[in-house]
């Protein structure tokens, strides 16, 4: 049992470097790829929005529905911001 644990921790240590590398790689990929980053931020922000939706609606929505609605609201806001960008710098589109 003990041996097993030790072994595992050594394995973990050995695999730590590639994991870190992968994280670094992911990070650079992320800084290049904006879309996943924005999606992630939206999901994080929704952690604040969803409870507000849930609280405001009374008992009308389930947790999942409140979460989905929060996300839909954020998406609508995002499209609206995107359209403002199109309006003011249409050359880029």
């Amino acid at each position: 049992m003990k041996f097993n644990l030790l072994n595992r921790s050594r394995l973990l240590l050995q695999s730590a470097t590639p994991v870190l590398e992968t994280i670094a790689e992911l990070w650079t990929a992320w800084s290049r790829q904006k879309l996943p980053l924005y999606l992630f931020l939206a999901l994080c922000f929704n952690l604040i929005v969803a409870p507000v939706v849930y609280a405001a609606s009374g008992n009308e929505f389930s947790h999942i529905q409140a979460w989905a609605l929060g996300l839909l609201g954020l998406a609508t806001l995002a499209i609206s911001i995107y359209l403002f960008f199109v309006m003011f710098i249409p050359e880029k589109f």
Binding site: L69, I79, Y82, L83, P90, E91, F93
Partner: protein, 719 residues
């Protein structure tokens, strides 16, 4: 005055001068023997690859539809995702599924429209690309040695030797030699073109064309990848496509409309939710729930898609690309969409007389004797002075003289005197006799130098010819002036009508000519131009353009010589002839591969057609909203008791939504041919055009969807 005779010696490189302007498009040759097979398969494939968000984000209206499709897909998978549905869940899922499919097809149709338009350009580019391949060039080193290198290594300023049968490795200027070149790869014209050093017109060669005879030394004028064909490929392929000013402004309007309807639709659930709450109490839960079902997320997205201007949003880029393509089919290469659009805005056309308004060749029409000579005598001298003249004018003089019975025996001692810009005359020396013909002033000087007298009747004859709009040439033998040849300028057939059309469209034409005032005014009247400038120098051209532009007008012009380059650059639309110099081609924003200056008139039409197509489809798209509103709103709010507004008597909310969306999706492919072909253009005044187009696309845009949506509703098996 000095430009007048240059045409009589130029070895007529423009072989198209005799074609009537604005002839049927079928008569015109198409450059690209483009492979249009498989165009649609490729377009269908491209419609899917364009779903990539990075590409889709460039079209705001369709991007919103695309995002909407994803949301409706989610509510198809789980109809309860955004709130418990008030209808039967299976039915709701079916409806959501249908909506998802239609929205998806709407996006695909829009992508397809763009892909078809692009595909036509791509096919052309492929045809052009096939003419280009890496080849070995003979570089001429400064020490005179010849080194064989790859053509891609050639740089601007290098010199190469091209011998018969070779491809010319890159764009350049002939600096030594004479030879005929097959330019069919770019012009589609099979007759070889003579290239020689020195002359403005015929010294530029294009990479990818083939030398058919002799050998040339060429100085390279373009770095690899920047040659004429490279630019042409990039242009027809749309690689450098940027939005034109009008497209940008229209994009803004479409984004604003999308934003407005996004707000309208996003606020609807709160508004209808309040009413639903009221109906729960006032009428019963069934009524409230029915209103809630009518404003489910999928239906709201459908409402959004129906209201935002998807028709024009889906076709906008296709219209622009197709406009460029139409220009290319006219064998004209435009450097940008902006230039094509500017054609429609042109207020003033500045046209050279010779070659544009009149046929390049003037023909001898009459001999006018002076100094008491008979017509026969004049004919004899004319014939003698012209036997060595191979220009069309010279040949027409010979023909006329022979018709009048003149004969001339050539023997070996006869010697042709070539025309030169300095002497401004040509002729024949035979046994000490000097036969000359040329500009009246030049002949006067020649006769005086030989001790002869200038008869007073010469000036009368000269003026008589000028008044008839012709070019007078004096003929003499030794120190004796015999008479004047009346060279008749022939206005191209059909031009008068074209100028009338242009005037009706509000486009002014200005003719530039080196002729004197009297001649110029006669030709101007005959051709029907609005204004003319006689005895014009190349500097006059640029002055005219500047003064018109100072009044806020847009000016178009054609040119081919190096001294036209500043004017071509100054003009808003500069159309250079392919036969022209490299300098002219670079200064212009369009190049005509057929070297037919009359095409400028066609380009105005194409530019206008492009703008009209855009305006017509925008109007149509916006006008459609009335019917879509009247189809959707009364049915989805039916529970609020406004069912009577359902003036189309659509079967149900589901059927109304699906019918409106099907119409919305199908109208895109239905209008693709119109977008690609362009709205039919008629040369009418602005008011007449507006009246006509507002009837078709404005009123039609209001009525058509009412009929179509009702028809789809009748056919649909939805209840």
């Amino acid at each position: 005055m000095n430009t007048r005779f240059s045409t009589s010696i130029s070895t007529s490189t423009s072989t198209h001068a005799s074609r009537s302007p604005g002839g049927r498009r079928d008569d015109r040759k198409h450059i690209p023997k483009a492979d249009r097979k498989g165009l649609y398969q490729r377009a269908i494939r491209a419609s899917f690859t364009k779903l990539n968000p990075r590409v889709a984000v460039r079209n705001p209206v369709m991007f919103v539809v695309w995002l909407g499709t994803i949301v409706t897909l989610l509510v198809t998978l789980n109809p309860n995702l955004f709130g418990t549905v008030q209808a039967e869940i299976g039915k709701q899922r079916l409806l959501n599924g249908i909506i998802t499919c239609i929205l998806f097809f709407t996006v695909l149709f829009a992508n397809f429209a763009e892909a078809v338009a692009e595909g036509r350009g791509k096919a052309q580019a492929d045809a052009l690309r096939s003419t280009r391949s890496d080849m070995v060039a003979r570089q001429l080193l400064p020490d005179g040695r010849i080194q064989e290198i790859n053509s891609t290594e050639l740089r601007r300023g290098d010199q190469v030797k091209v011998i018969v049968g070779d491809m010319i490795p890159a764009d350049g200027e002939v600096i030594q030699g004479i030879g005929s070149v097959d330019e069919s790869a770019i012009t589609g014209e099979s007759a070889p073109v003579l290239k020689q050093t020195g002359t403005d017109i015929a010294s530029s060669v294009t990479g990818g064309t083939r030398l058919l005879s002799d050998e040339l030394i060429v100085r390279i004028t373009a770095d690899p990848g920047q040659g004429f064909i490279d630019r042409m490929i990039a242009l027809v392929e749309g690689a450098e496509r940027t939005k034109t000013p009008n497209e940008i402004a229209l994009t803004v309007l479409l984004a604003v409309l999308t934003q407005v309807f996004l707000i309208v639709v996003a606020t609807t659930p709160a508004i209808s939710g309040y009413i639903a709450g009221f109906l729960d109490h006032a009428v019963g839960a069934a009524a409230g729930n029915s209103l809630r079902a009518g404003t489910s997320i999928a239906i709201l997205i459908s409402l959004l898609v129906a209201l935002i201007p998807t028709t024009i949003g889906g076709l906008l880029s296709a219209i622009g690309i197709a406009g460029m393509d139409r220009v290319a089919q006219f064998n004209v290469i435009a450097t940008s969409g902006r230039a094509v659009e500017a054609c429609g805005d042109v207020n003033t056309l500045v046209l050279d007389k010779t070659g544009t308004i009149t046929l390049g060749n003037r023909l001898a029409d009459e001999f006018i004797p002076v100094n008491g000579h008979s017509v026969q005598e004049v004919a004899h001298v004319c014939l003698a002075a012209s036997v060595f003249d191979e220009t069309p004018e010279g040949r027409s003089i010979v023909q006329l003289a022979q018709k009048l019975g003149a004969k001339f025996d050539l023997d070996e001692s006869a010697e042709g005197i070539e025309f030169s810009a300095r002497t401004r005359m040509s002729g024949t020396d035979l046994n000490g006799q000097e036969f000359r013909k040329g500009a009246v002033d030049a002949i006067k000087g020649f006769v005086r130098s030989r001790g002869g007298q200038v008869p007073t009747t010469l000036d009368e004859a000269y003026e008589q010819v000028s008044r008839m709009g012709g070019t007078p040439l004096a003929v003499c033998q030794g120190n004796e002036i015999y008479g004047v040849i009346y060279l008749k300028d022939i206005v191209k057939p059909g031009l008068r009508e074209r100028f009338d059309q242009l005037r009706r469209m509000g486009v002014k034409t200005i003719m530039l000519t080196g002729d004197n005032r009297i001649t110029a005014s006669v030709i101007a009247k005959e051709a029907g131009v609005d204004d003319f400038i006689a005895e014009a120098t190349p500097e006059d051209k640029i002055d005219v353009i500047r003064s018109e532009q100072a009044q806020g007008k847009l000016v178009a012009m054609t040119g081919d010589g190096t001294n036209d380059a500043p004017a071509l650059a100054q003009a808003n639309v500069g159309l250079a002839m392919n036969s022209g110099t490299q300098a002219a081609k670079e200064a212009a924003n369009m190049v005509d591969l057929d070297s037919d200056p009359t095409k400028l008139i066609d380009l105005v039409t194409i530019g206008k057609q492009l703008l009209i197509t855009r305006g017509a489809l925008t109007t149509f798209s916006v006008a459609n909203d009335i019917a879509k509103y009247f189809a959707i709103i009364p049915t989805i709010f039916a529970a609020a008791g406004i069912g009577a507004l359902n003036i189309m008597e659509l079967k149900s909310a589901q059927s109304a939504i699906v019918s409106a969306l099907i119409y919305n999706a199908l109208i895109i492919p239905v209008l693709i041919p119109l977008a690609l072909r362009g709205v039919q253009f008629r040369p009418l005044t602005a008011d007449q055009l507006l009246q006509r187009n507002i009837l078709i696309y404005g009123l039609g845009g209001i009525i058509a969807p009412f009929i179509a949506i009702k028809a789809i509703d009748l056919v649909l098996p939805l209840s």
